[in-house]
């Protein structure tokens, strides 16, 4: 059982609007897997499916051999204890200090004595370089620091799988590199499996083992970082090199320009 996450033929839609159309995806243990695609292509939906927050219309989502959509609430909560998730803007609890944010899961799910929790929290904070910020409130943190605290929080219970929803969004170049390196280093040292949803190509290609490109709800291309850089596929080329026009058009579908400006009678 080498594959931690297996997604087979998954379709999903909100109401009549299809978001995912027949997705196949695997994440092997110990890998950093990236899911890339333009905004609104269904990347975050995929994470929500793996976390069991939504159920697929058809197809199967298996995590550690368990079919996620078939679990009851207790089973799902048991599985989620082994998953960590980093939300787009950190989603830190704003009424708790950095320390309490990281201690949250330890206090909720374990009976550990407070001294041990303190040591564990400081170790997690040390891993992301923010041991000195333990007493701060989330509102006192910069964007990059908040992301690192959220990262420390997501590994608080030593999960087997960590999912990152746009971990690089809105970060300065230094924080970008720091967060990228942390994802790689924590994956390797803690023996995690990481799934990174992102549209930051350059940063993520540096750290990932395998990449899936999603466009309009379907997988357009997949391969290692090297294969993607060298890929001749028009979509991948446009994405990796950040070209404004290509298979993903610059213009939102509209009536002809001249007609809209009433230049033609």
């Amino acid at each position: 059982m080498d594959n931690l996450v297996e997604i087979k033929n998954v379709t999903f839609g909100y109401g009549a609007r299809p978001v995912l159309k027949g997705i196949n995806l695997t994440a092997r243990r110990g890998q950093v897997v990236a899911i890339m695609g333009s905004s609104g292509c269904g990347k975050t939906t995929l994470l929500r499916l793996i976390g069991g927050q939504i159920k697929p219309n058809s197809g199967s989502v298996r995590v550690a051999g368990q079919e996620v959509s078939e679990l009851d609430t207790d089973g799902l909560y048991l599985l989620r204890r082994k998953m960590g998730m980093l939300f787009q803007f950190g989603a830190l609890f704003t009424d708790m200090s950095v320390f309490d944010n990281i201690a949250f899961q330890l206090r909720e799910h374990t009976q550990l004595p407070e001294e041990l929790i303190r040591d564990l929290v400081l170790m997690k904070l040390h891993a992301v370089g923010l041991r000195g910020a333990a007493h701060l409130m989330p509102s006192e943190l910069s964007g990059g620091m908040a992301r690192r605290v959220a990262l420390a929080r997501s590994i608080a219970l030593e999960p087997m799988l960590v999912m990152y929803d746009e971990p690089f969004a809105g970060l300065d170049p230094i924080s970008l590199g720091v967060v990228g390196n942390l994802i790689r280093r924590l994956t390797d040292t803690l023996g995690l499996t990481s799934i990174v949803v992102t549209h930051d190509v350059q940063e993520s290609l540096k750290i990932v083992d395998y990449v899936y490109f999603i466009s309009a709800g379907a997988i357009e291309a997949e391969g290692t970082a090297e294969e993607m850089r060298a890929s001749g596929l028009p979509f991948v080329h446009q994405f990796v090199h950040g070209e404004p026009d290509g298979p993903v058009p610059f213009h939102y579908p509209a009536r002809p320009y001249a007609e809209d400006l009433r230049l033609e009678q």
Binding site: R80, A91, F93, T94, Q105, E108
Partner: protein, 264 residues
């Protein structure tokens, strides 16, 4: 031909939408009750919320109670002295407060002070994905976030209403006895003789508990159901104050009708 049909369709759409919202609210309320175990097992969570909802509402409740009582003293004296029965001022002030004004005005103030804060807090927690994060950490937000706030509101409301009434009676005393000079002995003794523990005080407490349940449940649901945007949260906050104020006044009529001792 199409216009009236469209109007009917729109009406039907609105009716269905509000019915489904009522259904959602009911399910939410029941889920909160069913998953209240944590709120009692870890009572410090509830105590913390009681501080935010109850203790921080004290100032507005106490000051308003004092002023309402003082106005009652003035108005009551003016009317009563026409009939030469100003010695009944204490009874008038006390009964008005413990039966009606205490529970109702305190609940209205609670809705605008604490209810709106609860809605905004829960709505923002949702908008910033804190509730989703909690769910992903295998912690049920209804049990951990919603239920303690609910019970905090239910506990706070009768206490605040009692303090409001006590403060109001003191205000009536200040104006009636200290300022105007109504006989102090008859002010207190008539009050003691005429205010019935069960009929007046207990019924007032029942009212305030019901209002506490209504206001807190509405505030929590509006926050939990708010669209996760700035506009969504602001609208939800407004709706909390409007809906719970109307609910308080409507429930007050229903409860008063039940407690009514009949004509003659």
């Amino acid at each position: 031909m199409i216009k009236p049909l469209q109007a009917i369709a729109r009406l039907g759409h609105h009716a269905l939408a509000s019915m489904s919202r009522i259904g959602l609210a009911t399910r939410f309320f029941l889920a909160t009750l069913l998953r209240s175990g944590v709120a009692f097992r870890r009572f410090n969570l509830t105590i913390r919320e009681t501080y935010f909802a109850g203790v921080l509402s004290l100032i507005i409740i106490l000051v308003s109670g004092l002023f309402v009582g003082m106005v009652l003293g003035l108005q009551g004296y003016e009317t009563l002295q026409t009939y030469g029965s100003e010695s009944a001022l204490g009874v008038l002030v006390a009964l008005s407060l413990v039966r009606e004004l205490g529970p109702v005005v305190a609940a209205l103030l609670f809705a605008s002070r604490a209810g709106s804060a609860i809605t905004a807090e829960i709505g923002l927690m949702k908008a910033t994905e804190q509730l989703a994060a909690m769910e992903m950490m295998a912690v049920d937000p209804i049990a951990r976030v919603v239920a303690p706030r609910f019970w905090a509101g239910v506990i706070s409301m009768p206490l605040l209403a009692a303090l409001f009434s006590a403060m109001g009676i003191f205000g009536g005393y200040l104006v009636g006895v200290v300022l105007i000079g109504v006989d102090e002995g008859s002010f207190w003794s008539q009050m003691q003789a005429q205010v019935d523990f069960q009929e007046d005080i207990l019924n007032g407490v029942i009212k305030s508990v019901v209002f506490g349940v209504a206001v807190t449940a509405i505030a929590l649901f509006e926050g939990y159901d708010a669209p996760p945007t700035a506009e969504g949260v602001s609208r939800a906050t407004t709706r909390t104050v409007v809906t719970s104020s109307l609910a308080i006044l409507a429930l007050d009529f229903v409860l008063t009708a039940f407690m009514f001792r009949g004509v003659g």
